[in-house]
Amino acid sequence: MEIFKSPTGNKLSCKGWQQEGLLRLLLNCLNPDIAKDPEELVAYGGTGKVARDLNSLKAIIEALKTLENDETLLIQSGKPVGIFRTFEFAPRVIMAGALLVPRWANWDYFQELSEKGLTAYGQSTAGSWSYIGTQGILQGTWETFFQVAKRHFGGSLRGKLVLTSGLGEMGSAQPIAITSNGGVAIVVDVDRAIVKKRLISSMIDIMASSLEEACEIAKEYISRAEPISIGVVGNAADAYEAVLSYNIKPDVVTDQTPAHDLKSYVPSDLSPEEARELGKTNPEMYEKIARDTIKRHVLAMIEFKKRGSVVFDYGNNLREQGHRVGVKDAFCFPGFASEYIRPLFCEGRGPFRWIALSGDPEDIYRTDEIILSIFKGDGRLKEWIDLVERRFAFHGLPARVCWLNYKERAVFGNIINEMVKLGELKAPVAITRDHMDAAAVASPFRETEAMKDGSDAVADWPVLNALLNCASGASLVGLYHGGGVGIGYSIHSGVTVIADGSREAQKRLDLVLKADPALGVIRYADAGYEIAKDIIKSAVFPAKAVE
């Protein structure tokens, strides 16, 4: 097995820092401490690949190493297809991944093409080489619960009970996100080994021996208004029904079981091992009983809502699955993105991240200090940085995630470039973001669900976003299909700019970090959201909205 790791330090292996930065990001996604399956070139999220195959990967590496400062490498679904003479200010890499003509945009057909070696699934940040590990997951979950607290409980979950389920790759961020917002979490997972694993790695505080015990502990901590996360082994549908029968009303109810994939969702009365066995021997029966459980699961959540709990779907398609098995009012509770993330998108606030190409954590800690001093009035930012500095050590290239708005991104990007220029940082920094951003994504079951004007499925915005970022001089721009919710359900774009301390980089940063979120604000203003409409009228808004 060939192992790929990013170079570190300030020595170039390419013809410029733009290419070098992108090469390091690509290889960082394959670092065995970060990637899910580096041998298969999978960074995360099921089968999210950084390149189509090994030959493509090697060809990309070679191309980046020899790429001139006025050339652009084109990548088609993880395969390099050509190098073009462009100009210095143009992106060094442009990519399109997993895109299909809508008529054929489904998993089965995609799989067929993929097996023929004609395409590859890039998820979101795997395909665009900006995956940094689990910090991004925690940030998104923390931000969601922060917004829940802000919207319903005066800014804190202190003294509040959150009932949720699923401690897998995504769900494991929930307990920390809830307790760091002050709340008490009961998290149900059907797999004892997973609950135990989360306990050992301190992702949960206590493993209760039963749901009754979990409720008792929760009651005690709520009365003292102290945060705690309690893991308990159980089936989510059974547990939710049981909590209803105890007449306990959690303040918040959500769920992160793999409900989007019936083959992974463990039906009631089966252990994970029994479920795996049944899935192999009798998949039809498995799906049938999984649907029965999902129905009870959704009905329990609806009942919680009727009793006054704040209930939301956490992006796992639970409501849709419930609706398919006949729960008519499955969509009576909202999805997390439309309910809690949308107000942030309206102000161009999104998952901004930066990666120290030096490989030295010191560079990130230094930028942490700077961001806290620039935006010192932002208590939310301080809380986040404190949490993440405490809970996350670095592996691979050190990175930081922060949700910044349309004004903050450009300001901070320029400061980073200045720090590189002055030698305050040991090497250049890559500035990038998740694809789940205001203008960057069209995803009717998540980020663009229930848009005010009904434009949920309009995918022009991420395409425009990618084109605009190209025009603004980003170092890398990519347009992708199927990230997060699967083929047929989303179109999204990624962007990266390398802050190498040069004047040219400063220009790139200034343009991209303004244009990218500003388009997001315009997109939400266009859909009729008042916050966004107000912002585009502001004198400091960096673009002109055309009415």
């Binding site: 192992i3 670092n31 790695s201 010191e362 809970r391 050590a393 592996h395």
Partner: protein, 414 residues
């Protein structure tokens, strides 16, 4: 790899560094950023992701007769050797407990066989320390954890792996991935085993007890799955039962208490299964010896009491059963023990007492033979006469006459 820069001559930094490493392994530092800052301040450049622990084999049995200074020198010798050895691998060594050292090192994620690589390093360190110090050591190695905040888990793994030396024996390098986790299952050490050992203790059958122990440990070694601590706890429990049995059988309470305290300590300190088996045999030998001694002591007291009772009551028609009941032991055991104690059986002993009394009365009183016969418990003077003749060799009347002549002569001559 970067070289560790540590100002060796600055004791403050050396102690601070050891304190930091201990805190890291005990999971006392909760912030990744604090760890980073402390590493910088202490000039620790390596980012460890794996821990191995080193222990001196048979430390307690080897050092129990040594002064504290001698022990300290021994420990220091091992620590210095470990530090020297670790340095050549850009690793860090620290003492965690009286007989526990940790070596923190980094396994790069591009190493293909990470377990083998770590074992190789462990073997290198073990061989070097043994050669350097002449002391046998064993090594336990934990899993690689990419996150430094999880390094304490690698340390726990390493300690667990090292516990397996109990079955593996001395001078071992054991990786956590190569051991079968211990179970809490204790079917080998059942109540039946405890009962069998109790029987052997009561019958003072040390060979029988050793056979049971040998078989038991033989099976435990075959299975290699019993948690040594649980096994030791169960053995202590068994010893407690056996000590109670021994106490009830008359063994000396104080000696048993001392034996109990000492054996518990020794059992807990046993490093390997063979050491524990030997310890168990020693304890059993001690308990059985105490039972045996106690029994002898108890016999003495019991039979002295019986003799005294017989001496007071032999004039009455007493039976063996009555005397046995008086001293609270079984007639069978009394009959057997009485002969051992007095050298004759119960009837012979009583008869002898009666005849001695009769002789005294014959010489010192004018009572008739019939009266004397009744006084010493015979209603039939003829029968008394026959018995007297059997024991003394002459009939009572002749005995009185011959002795009287003899006494008179003494007085007249005097």
């Amino acid at each position: 790899m970067n070289e560790i820069t540590c100002h060796k001559n600055n004791p403050l930094e050396v102690y601070a560094r050891r304190g930091f490493l201990r805190d890291l392994l005990f999971n006392n530092i909760t912030s990744a950023k604090d760890i980073w800052n402390l590493q910088k301040k202490l000039n620790i450049i390596i980012q460890p992701n794996t821990v191995m622990v080193v222990t001196i084999d048979n430390y307690y049995s080897e050092t129990c007769n040594k002064s504290e200074i001698q022990k300290q020198n021994l420990r220091l010798k091992v620590l210095q050797s470990l530090e020297k050895c670790a340095k050549s691998f850009n690793a860090l060594a620290v003492n965690m407990d009286e007989n526990l050292y940790a070596v923190l090192f980094r396994v790069e994620n591009d190493v293909v066989s990470q377990v083998e690589w770590a074992i190789e390093l462990g073997r290198f360190i073990k061989d070097n320390v043994e050669e350097d110090t002449g002391i046998s050591v064993s090594v336990g190695i934990g899993r690689r954890y990419k996150d430094i905040l999880d390094l304490h888990l690698s340390y726990k793994d390493a300690v667990t792996a090292c516990h397996h030396k109990f079955f593996w024996g001395k001078s071992q390098v054991i990786h956590i991935e190569n051991v079968i986790p211990f179970t809490e299952e204790l079917s080998l050490f059942s109540i039946e085993v405890e009962s069998q050992l109790s029987v052997k203790v009561l019958s003072c059958d040390d060979e029988g007890a050793f056979n049971i122990i040998d078989e038991l440990f033989g099976n435990a070694v075959k299975e290699r799955s019993v948690n040594p601590l649980i096994m030791k706890t169960r053995l202590i429990e068994i010893i407690t039962t056996l000590i109670r049995v021994a106490f009830e059988a008359g063994a000396d309470q104080e000696k048993l208490a001392a034996l109990s305290g000492h054996s518990v300590e020794e059992i807990l300190r046993s490093d390997t299964v063979s050491e524990l088996r030997n310890q168990m045999r020693e304890v059993l030998r001690g308990i059985i010896e105490e039972v045996s001694l106690g029994r002898k002591r108890m016999n003495l007291q019991v039979f002295e009491k019986a003799v005294s009772y017989i001496q007071e009551n032999f004039r009455k028609p007493i039976t063996l059963e009555q005397v046995a009941e008086h001293v609270h032991i079984s007639p069978y055991y009394f009959s057997h023990g009485f002969k051992n104690f007095t050298g004759m059986n119960f009837i012979d002993y009583i008869t002898r007492l009666k005849m001695e009394e009769a002789k005294k009365l014959l010489l010192t009183t004018d009572l008739s033979i019939g009266q004397i016969s009744r006084q010493v418990g015979y209603n039939d003077p003829n029968y008394f006469g026959r018995v007297f003749k059997n024991v003394v060799g002459i009939p009572p009347s002749k005995f009185r006459a011959s002795k009287k002549v003899h006494i008179d002569r003494i007085f007249s001559e005097g």
